[in-house]
Symmetry: C2
Subunit: 231 residues, 2 copies
């Protein structure tokens, strides 16, 4: 493995691999293996399989404890936004992983080094290698540097809280009174439905419904945002 990269890992993330072969494997693309069959290398695909699951658990655990009042549906959307291909590819680039992956010539010439799917897989493979080498809590420490601060600062929160976003958008042009009104509820207790309208300075800006007032308010706010975008 490139000495500069080992230095960066150590200085930026306090990571020193015990078994540097794992790190090498994480940074070996199948196209490189195919072009160097005589070397009998292993590509990073199995590590990616493992790393994908490591990431899923750690992000889930983080969200579960960070947002204790947020319902499951919103957590699931937020998790999906964090672990999706373009997010992971951008984390990989921030960590300079794109500079150090070994590619075959064909892959290199066709721009593989910038391909989102390849960078996403690389990021997951790195997590898989780090997990095998040093366990779950070490991967957690890495994510605490690379991913969680972005979650807390709201990079993915468009998936989460439409009410907050609506407030931000409406109050850009000064103070407004935003008001959620329950206009109807019906159905038996176990499948009750709520209808909410949201008003801005007494002007109707969105309608929503849902199985709880909270969900109906989020739905109304999301629809109000969609209406505003159309204007």
């Amino acid at each position: 493995m490139d000495k500069q990269f080992l230095k960066e890992l150590k200085e930026n993330f306090s990571i020193v691999f015990h078994d540097v072969n794992l790190l090498n494997q994480a940074f070996t693309h199948s196209s490189y293996v195919n072009e160097h069959r005589q070397l009998q290398l292993s590509d990073n695909e199995r590590l990616e399989f493992l790393g994908d699951a490591v990431l899923e658990l750690l992000v889930s655990r983080f969200l579960y404890f960070q947002y204790q009042d947020v319902p499951e549906g919103t957590l699931t959307k937020l998790r999906a936004a964090i672990v999706r291909e373009d997010s992971l590819a951008s984390f990989a680039k921030e960590c300079h992983f794109d500079r150090y992956i070994a590619l075959g010539k064909g892959e290199e010439h066709s721009g593989g080094r910038q391909r989102l799917a390849l960078l996403c897989d690389l990021f997951e493979a790195f997590l898989g290698a780090l997990y095998i080498d040093q366990g779950l809590e070490k991967v957690e420490k890495f994510l605490e540097m690379v991913i969680y601060p972005k979650v807390v600062s709201g990079t993915f929160s468009h998936e989460m809280d439409y009410k907050t976003r609506l407030q931000e958008v409406l109050q850009r042009s000064g103070d407004r009174i935003i008001d959620y009104r329950l206009v109807k509820e019906e159905g038996p207790a176990h499948e009750r439905l709520f209808w909410i309208e949201v008003y801005c300075d007494d002007e109707l800006v969105g309608k929503g419904h849902g199985k709880s007032k909270k969900i109906a308010e989020q739905d109304a706010a999301a629809n109000a945002l969609a209406n505003l975008e159309r204007k």
Copy 2:
């Protein structure tokens, strides 16, 4: 929580919850919460969100180390077969989880206690609760009793090894000579393709191709199985 269930968990799986509220939450369906709003209960959906990811990691780790020569694509298929809804629902029933979940009357009357999605979610919620209460390795011990023996004995192996399955099917009617023949390979080193034909006692039974001989053989065996099923 029902005393009989606590006894079963202890005797069958050596599980005793420190915080039995977590266990209660795992066994509380949203329909029950909706019918008993005055109790201000929490349903099991957030625990299911977490448990889903716990299961994904543990199954991935198990497969990764159990099948060291199996390529990522096959591991992914195998994992999907293990964690899919009907598999998890059947694990839930084997553990008698279906007997102990608290449902609303509407859900109960519409047969919710037998619904696969509900049982699958329940199984994941239980894993989430056990994970919070006692950590990853305790969940691993539970899976070692409930899931892994079935993986090793081949319950999900139809997703894995078509060559082995083809051999089983063909040799039911006595010894046969099964023979994989490389008939063509082409393309540059980094994107080489292999064509394989599989013969049984010199009769062509299937054709396949792939990026390696191994993958092409699996493909040929899978196609041979499909041909045999059509007969």
